[in-house]
């Protein structure tokens, strides 16, 4: 299912309503991505097929208007998968369910996924977290971004070993070659590289019948931070120069 199959949500602004300049990410290019995230493999989900608009497949020079980026993820040289999304966690457990999506399609352990949510200096523009739209829309975008990254990593391993990509499998952050009993980690594959992939709507994703992690009941990925009091809610944050506002009412 693609996101286009969903009817427009009554509260969802159209693309034309999105501001053309958003904060620090008015335009995204290769340099900006890797300055933010460090070397590795970055996958950007674009809402329209920008490659066809630009008429170019040269990712090193293509600049993405930020209003067209839905989500992006980055696999670092340390194997950490950073996921950038404008959706926010308020107890509906999307930090966990979106992690499940990424773990499923990218084939990485939960512990290697870092969800950067709602940090407006870093994440793509998002209209907001409401109306049960996170899983159908953001979930689908991250599923596609993750599927693209997995396919790219398998291709990289295939080139590395000079074998057919079809004979390789990805699991737990590694690409496996069952025929020759060898494996290589995503971290090793992305070392020293600055790869930026753009994906549009038509990438192939796993059918729901093959899900092993998605759609299953799991514990919160950051459960221990809540039961130890370490989780910082907005009201727990202190920022230099922060001012406080209060509504004063007549007694």
């Amino acid at each position: 299912m693609t996101i286009n199959e969903y009817p427009p949500h009554p509260y969802e602004p159209t693309h034309t309503e999105s501001p053309s300049i958003q904060g620090n990410l008015s335009a995204l290019n290769r340099r900006k991505f890797f300055k933010l995230a460090g070397s590795g493999l970055a996958v950007v989900f674009v809402l329209q097929d920008l490659l066809s608009i630009a008429g170019s497949t040269n990712t090193s020079t293509t600049v993405l208007p930020a209003s067209q980026v839905g989500a992006w993820l980055h696999i670092g040289e340390d194997g950490i998968v950073s996921v950038f999304t404008g959706k926010v966690e308020v107890g509906q457990n999307i930090r966990t369910s979106l992690s499940q999506v990424v773990a499923e399609e990218l084939q990485v352990p939960f512990s290697s996924i870092k969800m950067i949510m709602g940090d407006t200096d870093l994440v793509p523009y998002d209209a907001g977290t409401f109306g049960s739209r996170t899983m159908p829309q953001m979930g689908t975008q991250l599923r596609k971004a993750s599927a693209t990254a997995r396919a790219a990593l398998i291709d990289m391993a295939a080139k590395n070993w000079k074998v057919d990509a079809g004979s390789l499998q990805a699991d737990q952050g590694f690409v496996y070659d069952a025929n020759l009993n060898r494996k290589i980690s995503y971290a090793q594959l992305t070392q020293g590289k600055q790869l930026l992939l753009q994906i549009a709507d038509d990438v192939k994703i796993k059918p729901a019948t093959e899900w092993k992690i998605s759609g299953k009941t799991v514990l919160k990925v950051n459960g221990s931070s809540f039961i130890t009091g370490k989780h910082r809610y907005v009201s727990d944050m202190k920022i230099p120069g922060m001012l406080h506002g209060k509504v004063l009412r007549a007694p």
């Binding site: 459960g223 221990s224 039961i227 009091g229 809610y233 009201s235 202190k238």
Partner: protein, 149 residues
């Protein structure tokens, strides 16, 4: 003014807030205890004072002097979670978890007094802690689990 918090003696400026919760959160940066209503009805600010649950938002800083105060940050011992924390982690009862610190502190106090409470006793003891997500049945399950460990 000196307060004993999580086994550590902490010097507090004499012009600090008059309520204990403010001192914990703003002077000592122990933000695990939450501000809910400011009048002791919500329970998210619950700490232990000499082993008894106390609503820190309506506890005067002065009355806490000389008492052993334990906050959610002080339950872990040598990197090991408290049995109640373990049970809550395993049961994963909450949605937003804002009430979690207060719930856990009240549950610790209950189980110290009554190690194997009935459902009714759990509900009675936890009556002063509110969960606006409404996850009460799961919370009772977590406390039941903790009582078995």
């Amino acid at each position: 003014m000196v307060l004993t918090i999580n086994g550590i003696r902490r010097k507090i400026e004499p012009d600090s807030s008059t309520d204990l919760l403010n001192v914990l959160r703003n002077n000592l940066n122990l933000t695990g205890s939450k501000y809910g209503c400011g009048e002791g009805a919500f329970g998210a600010c619950t700490v232990l004072m000499n082993g008894k649950p106390a609503r820190s938002c309506v506890t005067t800083t002065l009355s806490a002097v000389g008492k052993e105060i334990i906050t959610i940050e002080g339950l872990e011992k040598n990197g090991q979670l408290h049995a109640v924390q373990k049970a809550f982690l395993e049961t994963d009862p909450f949605q937003c978890s804002y009430c979690a610190p207060g719930m856990i502190m009240s549950a610790v106090a209950l189980l110290e007094k009554n190690p194997s409470p009935s459902d009714e006793e759990i509900i009675a003891a936890m009556n002063g802690n509110i969960c606006r997500c409404g996850t009460y049945l799961n919370i009772v399950k977590a406390i039941k689990l903790a009582s078995k460990s």
